[in-house]
């Protein structure tokens, strides 16, 4: 039973991690926590659902359509909601994301209704593979592990070796200096929002396949992913992945022995980490100098 708990904990943890990466990418460039992240993923998943069920197109067309939509949505929110803010403080921008969250949820309720919907992926949770001694793993979990691993490697390379990745890191560390060095900061922000929205949409589709699709379905996964990001360090991609894994395992073991306590584990993690090590377990802390 412990082996199965570990597999299930790590697989949901990997899904939290992927979604946490979406949160981290925006934070890495602008130090803004995007509270609309869950609803952006929800709307993109609804677009995939719409293409599948209304137009009757094959899954991969719907998947690509939803990914393109997610990128455009991220760009739209950054350009139309955040950029027009005059002399914005980080807190002001966070409040704007809260407004965007409510707007997107209302929009989804108006367009697709509040009733739960079924959303399936080709990686079915029905299809299981026996590993050893009765331990099983399903296609959904395998796909999540692969997605998390590929994303982590890609982002590691991207942030370390590409000009755009370095520009994003530079923008986060000192926006003013980055401008002086010729970095087009607005473009960096737009890219971060589009890219983050895309990764969020990928995680959103996996979460929907595991439960149901409705306008509120991403609220709870967002909180878990945020907890994973805080645990790992809001600036560290590998930290978020490890944080997601730890959170998934903690939740599953708590859920098995003390089910009533399981829902508070994530919040306990946020509080403890913020009290003991505010920058997270794996993030390096940069002191800004005057």
């Amino acid at each position: 039973m412990y082996g199965q708990l570990i597999i299930e904990g790590l697989s949901i943890g990997a899904c939290y991690a992927v979604f946490g990466i979406a949160v981290v990418i925006i934070y890495k460039t602008s130090e803004v926590i995007n509270f609309a992240q869950g609803e952006m993923a929800m709307i993109s998943t609804f677009v995939a659902y719409h293409i599948l069920n209304v137009y009757g197109w094959p899954f991969w067309y719907a998947f690509i359509g939803a990914c393109v939509f997610a990128v455009l949505l991220g760009l739209f929110i950054e350009v139309c909601f955040l950029r027009p803010a005059k002399n914005p403080s980080v807190l002001g921008l966070i409040v704007i994301t809260l407004g965007a969250e409510m707007l997107l949820m209302g929009l989804a309720g108006w367009k697709w209704g509040g009733e739960q919907k079924d959303f399936s992926l080709p990686f079915s949770f029905h299809k299981t593979h026996e590993l050893m001694g009765g331990l099983v793993i399903n296609d959904w979990s395998i796909a999540v592990f692969v997605m998390a691993a590929v994303l982590m490697i890609f982002l590691f390379v991207f942030f370390r070796y590409t000009k755009l990745g370095v520009a994003m890191r530079a923008t986060q560390q000192n926006e003013h200096a980055a401008r002086i060095m010729g970095i087009k900061v607005e473009r960096v922000f737009s890219f971060a929002w589009g890219f983050s929205s895309l990764i969020g949409a990928l995680a959103g589709m996996f979460f929907a396949a595991r439960s149901t699709l409705d306008p509120a379905y991403m609220m709870e996964p967002f909180l878990r992913a945020f907890a994973a990001a805080v645990l790992g360090g809001l600036m560290s991609i590998p930290g978020v992945v490890i944080g997601g894994g730890i959170l998934g395992l903690l939740e599953n073991f708590f859920g098995f022995y003390w089910p009533a306590w399981k829902p508070i584990v994530a919040f306990l993690v946020i509080v403890l980490v913020l009290c003991i090590r505010p920058s997270g377990l794996f993030a390096r802390h940069y002191e800004k100098k005057v």
Binding site: M1, G9, W110, Q116, V136, P215
Partner: protein, 397 residues
């Protein structure tokens, strides 16, 4: 100083007027010679919107009565307001309906929290409320003079379902998953009541929060405890997540659920077909039944609300309004709140498409029985046990 006295008096008078409005001195009557105004609140938008159908159902019953010429020359006007499943909003819309529109009686009304937020206000204004679309003990114990419950208690449902599982299915290893609130705990109490009576205990009892999306540890706990039947008092999403997660680890117990998950067309669709074989309690005849009363309602819904799906929630809205319409018919021309209260309090064994209802001045919990359904192929309803009374119900003794 002299100039301030009239100003002060004006302020005090204004405040007194505002307060008196809240106390119901200005409530307009809920009927006249031409119409009787009844109303419902419910989540027409927002995440709980699927339950809003229960608030729209009474309009079809009103339209059916009006087509026959109304009741003693009065047409029934049904008004619906959106409370977005927010108790603060329930208070706002109910106050607006009572004080601006003038409402004779409320019917239906999902959300326990919303109902509890307006229960006392309605009683203060002597407004009748029939058939809250949820089971809350505080509504009827002790009896509230203006509130009449149709919905069977989750405790009675739990007891009847547990009896069915043990005696008819012959399963002794019972696990319970319950939402960690009044709804879930009442269901759990019913299961415990029955199993205590049979000198048994659940093999495992697992609380779950309504918002949880990862239930793998819960499912593994059920599996390791050896539960061969799992009884659930949870919300639709939690129910789907439980069944999906069980499928991932090859766990196949007999799933049994509260009537809240008995909309098989919906549940089978959102679970990707996993709902087939699930047994649930039910508080009315199946919406796809051939019973002449249901056929009549289905046809009326097609005519008056063609945009609605005739599912459990929508038909339940019609069912909750049935006893109120019956009371109006019994009272006839001499309509008054006291006369309708008298008619409701003397209702004995009244049955529409729901359970048999009996109310008295001392007992406002109308029903004590449930049906048991099974989800068949394609979400079709199979009636596997007709109306069954909880013989252990303590509230009747």
């Amino acid at each position: 100083m002299k100039g301030r006295v009239p100003l002060l008096l004006g302020v005090v008078l204004g405040m007194a007027l505002i307060l008196s409005a809240g106390m119901g001195f200005c409530v307009p009557p809920g009927f006249d010679d031409k119409e009787i105004r009844i109303a419902s609140w419910g989540p027409l938008t927002g995440p709980a919107a699927p339950w809003g159908a229960v608030s729209r159902g009474p309009a079809v019953l009103a339209a059916m009565v009006n087509e026959q010429g109304g009741i003693s020359g009065r047409k029934i006007r049904h008004i619906v307001r959106d409370d977005m499943y927010n108790p603060a909003q329930t208070k706002v819309v109910v106050k607006e309906l009572v004080e601006k529109e003038g409402i004779f009686a409320f019917v239906s009304g999902p959300s326990s929290a919303g109902g509890l937020a307006v229960k006392d206000y309605l009683a203060q204004n002597k407004i009748i409320w029939v058939g809250p679309a949820t089971s809350v003990k505080e509504y009827v114990f002790p009896p509230q003079p203006y509130l009449f419950s149709v919905y069977p208690l989750y405790e009675d449902e739990g007891s009847v379902l547990a009896k069915y599982v043990v005696e008819k299915l012959g399963i002794k290893e019972i696990g319970v998953v319950y939402q960690n609130d009044t709804y879930g705990r009442n269901g759990l109490d019913g299961v415990r009541q029955r199993l205590n009576h049979l000198k048994m205990k659940p093999v495992v009892e697992i609380p779950v929060e309504a918002t949880e999306k990862d239930l793998s540890s819960h499912v593994l706990k059920l599996k390791s405890a050896g539960a061969k039947a799992v009884l659930m008092w949870v919300n639709p999403t939690t129910g789907v997540v439980l069944l999906k997660t069980a499928a991932t680890v090859g766990y196949k117990p007999q799933w049994v659920s509260s009537n809240t998950l008995s909309d098989f067309a919906l549940m089978n669709k959102i679970s990707g077909g996993l709902w087939e074989g699930v047994i649930t309690g039910a508080f009315m005849l199946p919406p796809d039944s051939d019973d002449p009363r249901v056929v009549k309602y289905r046809e009326a819904a097609k005519k008056y609300a063609p945009e609605e799906r005739f599912g459990v929630f929508f038909m339940a809205g019609m069912m909750f309004a049935e006893p109120l319409i019956e009371a109006f018919k019994r009272v006839g021309k001499n309509l008054s709140t006291d006369a309708v209260l008298k008619a409701l309090n003397s209702m004995k064994g009244f049955q529409g498409v729901g359970p048999k209802l009996t109310w008295s001045p001392h007992q406002h919990q109308g029903s004590d029985s449930i049906q048991i359904w099974k989800c068949g192929p394609g979400g079709k309803t199979i009636l596997i046990q007709d109306w069954t009374v909880n013989d252990l119900a303590h509230w009747k003794k």
